[in-house]
């Protein structure tokens, strides 16, 4: 192959541009859809990993009939006695449902005596006076919560209705900045005793107890020990959470991929048809090339290069458009499939993640069916008898 070959190839491509244009447009569209979805899912996965990193390794709670019940706070003392356990944190949280619109927010309680949660809170929001925050009827809300409250004309505070029928007026002290993403969007943070009251826990109850086990080799040991402490104790470790999220997003994009397969198959059939439609002029041209001394291999090379250039061009353009769509315009419409539009509008922006796995996945899913569809038609036209040139 020399420069003359490439030159001739480009001439051929240019000459038949109208024939190639439809193929390129459909290809770009397919790659655009596919890569948008995969970009979103890998970006979400990345954010998730970032959010899960500071999360506790283990969470225990009381199970009754397989359902989480309020957990006695004494259990945390028992945890301290197990060697290898650190950062034991009793937690109070739950969902609060707003009657009028059927929306719900996540309420999280912060313990006044818990050093760890202070630090993480400080990390979350700078310029906050923790002491003042924890002693009054204050709350910190996520971006999504703020928008919702403002829409319902609660600009400074909201009256929560406790399960006992009492109203508690809680002031909005701060709004969680947008960058924390995903988990904090519909979250309300408040002092632990307030949270207990709003969610209906008594003073010696918590939702669950979190703790860390720094040595990963000890994880299964500790899990066994915990289970022998109480019969109604349930343990969840971080990997399980990670796995279930991973599975959820895999499920969502996997489901999409399977639908996408139908698209790709249809496209391959169209391609096959298109490539099989060999006009007599084309056949004659190939015959002429062969008559002029081109071997079958030369013609095959020309024809495959033609397809390869189509593939690569549409791949690059499709990915480029998807990148702009997802990471610059935040993927309108498509986003809802992944984040779930049922609850508060997630005002999440995606972190640009481009990894080899995603790029190669897109390429394989598109290029393999493409080439498989055209390989037989391309061969068929390439072995045209040189005699065709005489007819």
């Amino acid at each position: 192959m020399n420069r003359a070959f490439w030159y001739f190839l480009s001439l051929q491509l240019f000459k038949e541009r109208s024939k190639h244009l439809t193929i390129i447009v459909i290809s770009i569209l397919l790659i655009f859809i596919l890569s948008s979805v995969l970009f979103i899912s890998s970006s979400i996965r990345f954010s998730l990993e970032q959010t899960l990193k500071p999360q506790p390794d283990f969470v225990i709670s009381r199970l009754q009939g397989g359902v989480n019940r309020s957990t006695p706070i004494e259990w945390s003392d028992e945890l301290f006695d197990i060697y290898g356990v650190t950062k034991v944190t009793p937690r109070v949280y739950g969902r609060y449902f707003f009657r009028p619109k059927g929306k719900s927010f996540l309420i999280m309680g912060i313990d006044a005596f818990e050093e760890e949660s202070h630090k993480s809170l400080e990390k979350l929001i700078d310029s906050i006076d923790i002491k003042a925050f924890l002693t009054g009827n204050n709350m910190i809300v996520g971006e999504g919560v703020k928008e919702y409250l403002q829409k319902n004309f609660y600009n400074n505070s909201y009256k929560f209705l406790t399960p006992k029928g009492k109203f508690i007026d809680i002031k909005i002290a701060k709004i969680v900045p947008k960058e924390t993403r995903l988990l904090s969007n519909d979250m309300i943070i408040m002092p632990i005793d307030l949270a207990r009251e709003v969610l209906g826990y008594t003073q010696d109850e918590v939702t669950d107890i979190a703790f860390n086990v720094p040595n990963p080799d000890e994880w299964s040991n500790i899990e066994d020990k915990l289970l022998s402490l109480h019969y109604d104790l349930g343990v969840v470790d971080k990997n399980e959470v990670k796995k279930s999220y991973e599975t959820l997003y895999n499920y969502k994009s996997g489901f999409f991929l399977i639908i996408f397969l139908i698209l790709i198959m249809t496209f391959s059939l169209i391609l096959y048809q298109r490539y099989n439609m060999v006009y007599s002029t084309e056949k004659r041209e190939i015959g002429l090339l062969r008559a002029l001394g081109w071997s079958i291999n030369d013609v095959l090379r020309l024809k495959f290069m033609e397809s390869f250039i189509l593939i690569v061009t549409s791949y690059i353009i499709g990915i480029f458009i998807a990148y702009i769509f997802v990471y610059i315009y935040n993927a309108p419409l498509l986003k809802n499939i992944f984040l779930g539009g049922q609850n508060l509008q997630n005002s999440v922006s995606f972190i640009p993640i481009i990894d080899i796995a995603t790029l190669s996945s897109i390429f394989l899913l598109y290029a393999v069916p493409f080439i498989i569809a055209v390989i037989v038609p391309v061969w068929r036209v390439s072995v045209t008898n040189p005699k065709e040139a005489m007819l």
Partner: protein, 222 residues
Amino acid sequence: MIRVENLSKSFYHQQDESKILIDINLHIKRGECIILKGISGSGKTTLLSIIAGLDRPSKGKVLIDDEPISKLPDIFASKIRAKKIGMIFQHFNLFENLSVYENVTVPLIPSGLPLDDIYRAVDKSLKVANIYHKRSLVASRLSGGEKQRCAIARALVADPDIIVCDEPTANLDSQNSILFIETIKELHLMGKTIVIATHDPLFENLNFKSRIVPMFDGKIDE
């Protein structure tokens, strides 16, 4: 140079066999000019295409420089087509939307020659065929005679020993036909072996040495 031995060619349409060429023997020496003459359907075009390696016989063989071209694997056969044979077709068969220059380049593309050598060869054959001044024109805008000269340039570009022409004057007016014969004469003087299939009476009295091989019903009629 070219040796045709016991060559037969049949086409099969369902069960019916129709014989196009029957047991042809022909020996063409280096530098000879051969006119295959016959009415249409006499098999001269089929014989020509088998000699040029464009078609395969049903029996017998064609040897070019002792190489049996009809039975060679494509890689070798195409090399012989590229290096030893220059084709001129009845309908000129140019790539209509390429320029004259690009058309002439086509046979050299698979050769793997450096681009400079290709350009040099193209320039040279454009000059020999007297079409150099129209080299950047798109082929579809050429007149009949110019197309013919472009086709000649293309046939000459790889400097082949053998020039094969199929009804070269069928689409030319008489003036251009005479010009074509002049070119053929030049090629003949350059020492090329020339094989022409035609029924044009112009070729009957050439002013240079040539051999007429009359064909009739798939046989050489001698």
